[in-house]
């Protein structure tokens, strides 16, 4: 355990020093890795218990559009807009989740219901083109550097915002699945009927997981839009982004705390290097590779990269006996 603490401390120190070490372009990538990583982590938070959502883009879209529209139309600060988006996402998750979990809609049925939800949100954004800009997307009104507007000219400031959020999400993940709770959730993932018989309130636990996941995803979507300063139904909602979330979380390893972030690092590095190497004429190449990788991951390593690494570390004989706690 002390080894882990030390590694975490060193990691954190490196992360805090990162803006001094990295040129602006790489910092830009790291910010995106952190923001997308926390969204993927939120997906994996449900996914690892067998709640596979193909509609997380819906929550991203709700979060991003709520805060941006409130800012553009009424000048409401994102500090209020983001919680509003999160609340809306939680309401949406409950409206879908309660009947689904109550009626035991699981597996691919649940996946397809969430897929429909993602479509509904994306289409509503397109249909509301008078205020949302439809498929053309929208831009939050820029005001330069302002804490109130959560806009920064300097990437370093945004980096620390992203880092703080990402750490908070990892904290929530650890807090929300500690001890008995984790055992309960794992039992639900394995066999709901047995879990119910063992006295676990399956419905309440699943709703809790879904609500937390939706809220984090909405917050991530808002801040991501705030960073990129552009929203469009394709990039923050819809089937494409929903599947991308699923892919990255699985590739990195949804059962590990840092797995989804590794997935974000992997996908962004791949996309960016292909873009730098081949330019935009090679558009689509990254997704071709993702597609093949996703298939290979599911067939050969369903626990993801980090899952495999962790297993290898566990298999390695310990150099010395762990001291008794």
């Amino acid at each position: 355990m002390t080894d882990m603490r030390m590694a975490a401390g060193v990691g954190l120190a490196v992360l805090i020093a990162l803006p001094l070490l990295l040129p602006s372009y790489f910092l830009h990538i790291v910010i995106q890795v952190l923001l997308l990583g926390l969204i993927y982590t939120a997906w994996g938070f449900m996914g690892r218990f067998g709640l596979v959502s193909l509609g997380h883009g819906a929550f991203m879209g709700v979060g991003a559009y709520t805060s941006s529209l409130l800012w553009n139309l009424y000048g409401v600060t994102p500090w209020l807009g983001i919680p509003a988006g999160m609340a809306l996402a939680v309401v949406l998750a409950m409206v879908i989740g309660y009947p689904c979990f109550h009626l035991r809609i699981v597996g691919h049925y649940f996946a397809l219901v969430t897929l429909a939800l993602g479509q509904v949100v994306a289409l509503l954004i397109i249909a509301g083109r008078d205020i949302t800009g439809g498929s053309l997307g929208m831009t939050p009104n820029a005001v330069g550097t302002s804490w109130i507007a959560l806009q920064f000219q300097d990437r370093t400031q945004f980096y620390f915002v992203a880092l703080a959020l990402w750490l908070a999400v990892l904290g929530i993940r650890a807090w929300a699945s500690r001890g008995m709770r984790r055992a309960a959730l794992e039992a639900i993932g394995e066999d709901e009927t047995a879990a119910e018989a063992a006295g676990i309130n399956v419905l309440r636990e699943k709703l809790r997981v879904f609500a937390i996941s939706a809220a984090i995803t909405a917050a991530g979507g808002s801040v991501f839009a705030q960073y990129i300063m552009y929203l469009n139904p394709e990039t923050v909602s819809g089937v494409g982004i929903s599947l991308q979330i699923v892919f990255a979380a699985i590739a990195g390893g949804m059962y590990s705390a840092l797995g989804p972030t590794v997935g974000a690092l992997l996908t962004l590095t791949l996309t960016e290097s292909l873009r730098v190497l081949f330019g935009t004429s090679f558009i689509g190449a990254a997704n071709t590779i993702y597609g093949i990788l996703l298939i290979l991951f599911i067939i050969f390593m369903p626990r993801g990269i980090l899952g495999v690494v962790e297993r290898l570390l566990e298999l390695r004989p310990r150099p010395q006996a762990a001291p008794a706690e």
Binding site: L115, L123, F247, N287
Partner: protein
């Protein structure tokens, strides 16, 4: 009655035929193999590109191009099952769905990579039929009739032939049929090929009405899944009924409001219905 409304209803019926055909292949795969091919609409896209290249670029006769495209997509279905589904048949169903999700990504972006994001038209203009004051597109009528013939053909195959009986039997009880001497693996491969072939047939009909582009699958994919689930996954008759219900909603609401709102309503209705009747609208 409002003539334009009547036209919308007629168009809805014809769209229903097409959606029913799309849902049929997916339903067959689900009913027999218990797998959701989330990339099903992308197989249709592949078929549309095949026809486009063979007919519009290499100037093959349209019908020949169609036959070749159907064969190609059928082969693709078979390979998809053999290479991707078979190794993970034993794992959780959601893994199989996600693996075909990888195939969706792959096909979509491969098409972008090879053909760019241009909209390509096969270049066949079919006449408009005038029924009094109502205009009907011949392409849609043809699609409707072919879809019905395809569905009837599939029904006869499943009901009357030995192989069809074996397929239905395995859908009912996987374990016992192995003991009765039915080779499950072979049946799965044949079913996948038929499912692919149906996607190819749908491609032949869609290519007459729509331009092909890499993201066309996203237009038809989600609604096809909704139809299958509404009909009761694996229940083919239910799928056909659901296809007509959905297509009417899309065309009538689309007529009064807008296309997006009609799809929103269709998806919301799906969510509501799945919660009210999780086993499909026809379930007892």
């Amino acid at each position: 009655m409002d003539l334009y409304l009547l036209e919308a209803i007629l168009n809805g019926i014809m769209l229903g035929g097409l959606l029913a055909l799309l849902a049929l292949g997916l339903n067959l795969i689900f009913g027999v193999i218990d797998v959701v091919w989330i990339c099903y609409a992308e197989l249709v896209m592949a078929g549309m590109y095949a026809i486009y290249w063979l007919h519009a670029v290499y100037a093959w006769p349209f019908l020949l191009a169609c036959v070749v495209a159907i064969a190609l997509v059928a082969l693709f279905g078979l390979v998809l099952h053999r290479l991707i589904i078979e190794p993970i048949l034993g794992s959780a169903p959601i893994n199989q769905l996600l693996a075909t999700g990888g195939m969706l990504f792959f096909l979509q972006s491969l098409a972008t990579l090879l053909f760019g994001t241009d909209f390509r038209n096969v270049g066949i203009r079919l006449p408009i039929i005038e029924l009094g004051d109502i205009d009907l597109s011949f392409a849609r009528l043809l699609a409707f009739i072919t879809a019905l013939v395809g569905a009837a053909g599939l029904y006869l195959f499943l009901a009357r032939t030995y192989l069809g009986t074996a397929i239905r039997a395995i859908a009912q009880d996987r374990e016992i049929m192995g003991l009765m001497g039915v080779d499950q693996r072979r049946i799965y491969l044949i079913t996948s090929a038929i499912g692919g072939g149906l996607a190819g047939l749908a491609a032949c009909l869609l290519v007459l009405q729509y331009d092909v582009h890499p993201f066309i699958g996203l237009t038809f994919g989600p609604i096809t899944f909704m139809i299958c689930v509404l009909g009761g996954l694996g229940n083919m008759f239910g799928g056909v009924v659901a296809a007509f219900v959905m297509s009417q909603i899309i065309s009538i609401v689309g007529y009064y409001f807008s296309v997006e709102i009609s799809y929103v309503l269709a998806f919301v209705l799906f969510i509501v219905l799945i919660l009210v009747r999780p086993r499909g609208i026809l379930a007892r």
